[in-house]
C-alpha cells in the first residue's frame, strides 16, 4: 500500500512539474558518465591503433615469447642459481623480483627498529638527546634519497680499503670483513641432523605461546601475574640447544678465506647492496621517527596521568597504556612507509644493485625491446605488492576499529 501511495505521489509531482530533459539530474549523470567513458574509450582506442601501427612500421614483435629467450648477461648478486648462457629473461625477471624483495625486507626491518628508537629518543626528557634526534630526522628527511644513495655508494662504500687491507669487523677473528668489494660473512652450512633442532625449536615456540596464553587466562581470572620472559627464554633457548648438542652440533660455518686477490666462501654483500640498504634504512627511519612521535603524542596526556595514579610503573605506563593507544595512529602511516621502501628500492638503478627495475626495465629492455610488455610486467609487480600491503592495512584497520568505540 505504501508503495502505491508513493507511486501516486511521484506521478502527481511529475504531472505538475514539466519533465525537463536537459536539467534532469539522472539524465545529466548518465550523460556525463557516457561522455567520460567515450573520451577514455577514444583515448584507449587511439593508443592501441597508434601503437600497433608504430610497432608494425618499425618491424617490432610483441608478445611474451622473449621471456624464454637466453638473456646472455648475468648479475653480480642473485638469490637463485643462474648461469650466463642458459638463463632466460624470465629468470632475470625472477632475479630482479627476489633482489627487490630481499633488500626491501631487510631495509623495512632495520628502518622500523631504528625509526622507533629515534622516535622515542625524540620524546626523551633529556633536552640534548631530543635535539640530536631532531637534527638526525630533519637532515635525512629534507635531502633527496637519491643523493643519499649515491653518497653512500660513491662516497663511502666504494672508497673502503682494498681486499688485502679489509676492515675486520669481528675484532681480529677475520671472519666478518669489509672492503671495497663488499661485506664478507660466514654462512651456515646445515648438517644432516639439523632438522631435529629445527623441530624442537618449533615445538618450543608453540609451547611458549601456549604458556603465554595460559598465564593470560590465569591473570584474567585471579589477577596473579606470572613471569613470562624467563620461562620463554628458557623454553626457546635451552631445549633446542640441548638437542643441538646431543645430535652432535650438525652445523658448520663456511668462512670467507683470502685466496689470491679476493675472498672465497661465506656470504658476500656487494657495496651497492650495502649502500642502498643503509640509505633506505636511514631515510625511512627518519620518516618513521616523526610518525612514531606524532602517534605517541596523540595519546591524551590524561591517560598517562591516570595510569600513574593507579600505581603503574613508568615502563608499564608505556607498554600497557600509551603504546596500545598510539598504535592505531602509527601503524597505517608506517605500513605506507614500508610500501615506500619497496618503491624506493628501485633507486638501486643509480648505483648498479641488480633490482627489478635495473636488470629488467633497463638492461633487458635495452637488449630485447618489448617496451610495453616489460614496463607492464614491472608495474604489475609493484602494483601487486602495493595491493597486498594495502589489503593487510585494511584488515588491521578493521580490527582496530572494532576495539576503539
Amino acid at each position: 500500500m505504501a508503495v502505491t501511495d508513493s507511486l501516486k505521489k511521484t506521478a502527481r509531482v511529475k504531472s505538475i512539474e514539466k519533465f525537463d530533459f536537459f536539467h534532469d539530474e539522472r539524465v545529466r549523470s548518465v550523460f556525463y558518465q557516457l561522455l567520460t567513458a567515450a573520451a577514455v574509450g577514444w583515448v584507449a582506442w587511439y593508443l592501441f591503433t597508434a601503437t600497433s601501427q608504430n610497432l608494425e612500421v618499425r618491424g617490432m614483435k610483441s608478445g611474451f615469447a622473449f621471456l624464454g629467450v637466453e638473456a646472455g648477461f648475468g648479475t653480480d648478486f642473485k638469490l637463485i642459481d643462474y648461469t650466463i648462457g642458459t638463463g632466460t629473461y624470465g629468470d632475470i625477471f625472477l632475479i630482479g623480483i627476489l633482489n627487490t624483495l630481499y633488500i626491501s625486507a631487510l631495509a623495512i626491518l632495520a628502518s622500523t627498529i631504528l625509526g622507533f628508537s629515534v622516535g622515542v629518543l625524540r620524546l626523551s626528557s633529556n633536552w640534548l638527546v631530543s635535539k640530536v634526534a631532531l637534527t638526525f630526522v630533519e637532515i635525512f628527511r629534507n635531502t633527496p634519497l637519491l643523493i643519499q644513495v649515491i653518497f653512500w655508494y660513491t662516497g663511502i662504500f666504494s672508497l673502503l680499503p682494498k681486499v688485502k687491507k679489509s676492515f675486520d669487523l669481528s675484532g681480529g677473528a677475520e671472519v666478518v670483513l669489509l672492503n671495497n668489494r663488499g661485506l664478507y660473512m660466514p654462512w651456515p652450512v646445515p648438517g644432516d641432523l639439523l632438522w631435529m633442532t629445527g623441530l624442537t625449536l618449533i615445538l618450543a615456540i608453540v609451547g611458549a605461546i601456549g604458556y603465554r596464553w595460559w598465564t593470560k587466562m590465569r591473570q584474567n581470572k585471579t589477577g596473579q601475574i606470572a613471569p613470562v620472559f624467563l620461562p620463554f627464554a628458557a623454553l626457546v633457548i635451552i631445549f633446542p640447544g640441548v638437542v643441538f648438542f646431543m645430535s652432535g652440533s650438525p652445523l658448520s660455518w663456511d668462512i670467507p678465506v683470502l685466496e689470491g686477490f679476493n675472498f672465497v666462501g661465506g656470504a658476500t654483500l656487494p657495496p651497492a647492496f650495502l649502500a642502498l640498504f643503509v640509505a633506505l634504512t636511514i631515510y625511512h627511519a627518519a620518516h618513521l621517527a616523526e610518525t612514531v612521535r606524532a602517534g605517541i603524542l596523540s595519546v591524551n596526556k590524561g591517560q598517562q596521568d591516570a595510569a600513574r595514579a593507579i600505581g603503574l610503573r613508568e615502563n608499564r605506563v608505556m607498554s600497557l597504556v600509551v603504546i596500545p593507544q598510539a598504535m592505531p595512529a602509527i601503524v597505517p602511516p608506517m605500513i605506507s612507509l614500508w610500501m615506500n621502501v619497496v618503491k624506493n628500492s628501485s633507486l638501486a638503478i643509480a648505483i648498479g644493485y641488480p633490482d627489478l627495475v635495473s636488470v629488467f626495465m633497463q638492461t633487458s629492455l635495452n637488449q630485447v625491446g618489448h617496451a610495453i610488455e616489460i614496463v607492464g610486467m614491472t608495474m604489475a609487480f609493484y602494483m601487486f605488492v602495493s595491493l597486498t600491503i594495502s589489503g593487510l592495512l585494511n584488515i588491521y584497520n578493521k580490527r582496530v576499529q572494532l576495539v576503539v568505540r
Partner: protein
C-alpha cells in the same frame, strides 16, 4: 582536632628554576643518573661528529685550486671544495650559454616580483594574482628560457603576461599605500566614481585593450636567441620540472579527487584506477614508461623530446599523489557543510567551489607543502634517465678531467642546498598552518 605548632617552620629552599642556566641544565640534562650518563655520551658523540666534519669540511678544506691533484697537494684529508666552486655555474644553470644567463635570472626575478604581492597584507584579490601566476607566468618564462620564434598564440600570451605583471605590480603598490584595488583606483583617478557600474566597466575594458595593444606592439620588436632544451640543466632544470609539476599537480589532483568522490560510478572507478595505478609504482618506472612507451603512442613522424616526456610523466605522477592529499582534506569537511550549501540552493560546482574547497584547501596546506617538498626531492630522479638536472651536474664533476673521482664534496653540497630549500619550506608551512587556522582554541 587542630595541630598548633609553636616553632616557626623553616623556609624551604626555592624550587629549581629553569630560568637560571644551572637550574635549566639540572632540569633538562642532569635530572637523574641515567639522564646524566645519556647527556655525557651524547655530548661525546656530538663532539666527535662535529669535530670530524669541521676538520674535513672547513679547517683542512681547500677552496681554491685548479685540479684535484692540486687539492691533494695542499691537504690530503680535507674536502676539495675547489671543484664545486669552479663548477658553480654548471650546478646552477647547466650548459646554458653563459652570455644568456641573465634570461634565467630575469625569469626568476619576475617570478618573485609577480608573487611578492601575495605576502603583502593590504593587497586585495590575492586569488587572482595566484591564478595569473599559474596560468600566465609560464608563457613569459617559457619564452625567456627557450627563445626562438614567437607564434601568434605565444605573442598574445606573452603580451597578456607582461600586461598582467605590470598591472599586478601597480595593483600591489596602490594596495600597500591606499588599501584599494587597481580598478577602483583608476576609476577614482578618472573622476568617474559616480558613473553607473556598466560604464565603469567599459572604461576599464577600454584601458585594458589600449594597454594590451601597446604591449603587443612593444613585444613584437623583442626576440631572443633560441636555446635548445638540451642545454638546460642544473638547479634551473630541476626547478623548471618541479615548478611545472607543482603548478599542474594541484588542479589535476583536485579534478581526480573530485572524480574519486563522485557519485557517478564510471567516473569514480576510472579516477580510482588511475590514482591507484600511479601511486603504487615507483616514479622511476613511470619515467621509463614515458621514455620508452610514449614514442610508440605518437603518430608517425611526431617526436616528443625527452624533456617533454619527463614533464608529462612527473605531472601525471604528482597529480595522483596530490589527489590523495586533496581527498583527505575533503574528508575532513563535515557533512553539514554540504547540506548547508544545498539548502541555500547551490549546485555541485557551487558547493565545491564556494563552500567545500576553500575550507578543505586550508586544511591541506601542510600536506600540500609536504607533497611539493617530496616532488622537489623526487625530481632528482630525472638524472637517471639522462637529463642533466642538478644531480646530473653534480655527478658529472667526478667525470670531468681535472676533478676525476671527486664524488663526496659535490653530493654534500647538493644535499645542503636541498636541505636549505626543503627545510625552509616545511618550516614556513608550519607557520602558515598556525596563521590560517580558524579553529577555536581555549
Amino acid at each position: 582536632m587542630a595541630i598548633i605548632t609553636k616553632e616557626k617552620t623553616t623556609a624551604r629552599a626555592a624550587p629549581l628554576s629553569d630560568k637560571s642556566l644551572i637550574g635549566w641544565l639540572r632540569l633538562n640534562l642532569f635530572n637523574s643518573v641515567f639522564n646524566t650518563i645519556l647527556t655525557v655520551v651524547t655530548v661525546y658523540i656530538i663532539y666527535i661528529t662535529v669535530e670530524g666534519l669541521l676538520v674535513w669540511g672547513v679547517i683542512d678544506a681547500v677552496w681554491i685550486a685548479d685540479t684535484r691533484r692540486a687539492c691533494f697537494a695542499i691537504s690530503l684529508d680535507g674536502a676539495c671544495w675547489a671543484g664545486v666552486v669552479s663548477w658553480l655555474d654548471n650546478i646552477f644553470y647547466g650548459r646554458y650559454p653563459r652570455e644568456e644567463l641573465w634570461r634565467i635570472n630575469l625569469g626568476g626575478l619576475l617570478l618573485v616580483i609577480w608573487m611578492a604581492p601575495l605576502w603583502l597584507p593590504r593587497v586585495k584579490a590575492k586569488v587572482t594574482i595566484g591564478l595569473t601566476t599559474v596560468f600566465l607566468y609560464p608563457f613569459l618564462a617559457g619564452y625567456l628560457f627557450a627563445g626562438g620564434d614567437k607564434g601568434l598564440f605565444m605573442q598574445i600570451m606573452i603580451s597578456g603576461a607582461i600586461l598582467c605583471l605590470v598591472g599586478n605590480t601597480l595593483h600591489a603598490f596602490i594596495g600597500v599605500f591606499t588599501g584599494k584595488g587597481l580598478p577602483e583606483f583608476l576609476i577614482a583617478l578618472l573622476g568617474k566614481k559616480a558613473a553607473p557600474e556598466k560604464s565603469q566597466r567599459n572604461i576599464l575594458l577600454g584601458i585594458l585593450a589600449v594597454c594590451f595593444a601597446v604591449v603587443y606592439m612593444l613585444q613584437m620588436g623583442a626576440s631572443f636567441e633560441t636555446v635548445s632544451w638540451t642545454k638546460w640543466g642544473g638547479l634551473f632544470l630541476t626547478l623548471v620540472i618541479s615548478g611545472i609539476g607543482i603548478a599542474s599537480a594541484l588542479p589535476g589532483g583536485i579534478i581526480l579527487a573530485l572524480g574519486r568522490r563522485s557519485k557517478l560510478p564510471i567516473i569514480r572507478v576510472l579516477s580510482t584506477a588511475f590514482i591507484e595505478l600511479f601511486r603504487s609504482v615507483p616514479l622511476i618506472t613511470v619515467l621509463f614508461m614515458a621514455t620508452t612507451m610514449f614514442p610508440l603512442f605518437m603518430p608517425e613522424g611526431f617526436v616528443l623530446n625527452k624533456l617533454t616526456q619527463v614533464i608529462i610523466a612527473v605531472c601525471l605522477f604528482n597529480a595522483c599523489y596530490m589527489a590523495e592529499t586533496v581527498r583527505a582534506g575533503l574528508q575532513a569537511i563535515p557533512q553539514g557543510q554540504y547540506e548547508g550549501a544545498h539548502t541555500i540552493g547551490l549546485g555541485y560546482w557551487g558547493t565545491m567551489g564556494f563552500i567545500i574547497m576553500p575550507q578543505a584547501l586550508k586544511h591541506m596546506i601542510p600536506n600540500i607543502v609536504g607533497s611539493f617538498i617530496g616532488l622537489l626531492k623526487d625530481t632528482t630522479l630525472v638524472s637517471i634517465i639522462g637529463l642533466f638536472d642538478i644531480l646530473g651536474m653534480l655527478r658529472s664533476i667526478s667525470r670531468d678531467a681535472p676533478w676525476l673521482g671527486l664524488h663526496k664534496e659535490p653530493l654534500v653540497f647538493g644535499a645542503m642546498l636541498f636541505f636549505l630549500i626543503c627545510f625552509a619550506m616545511s618550516k614556513y608551512s608550519r607557520r602558515l598552518e598556525v596563521k590560517l587556522s580558524t579553529d577555536h582554541k581555549h
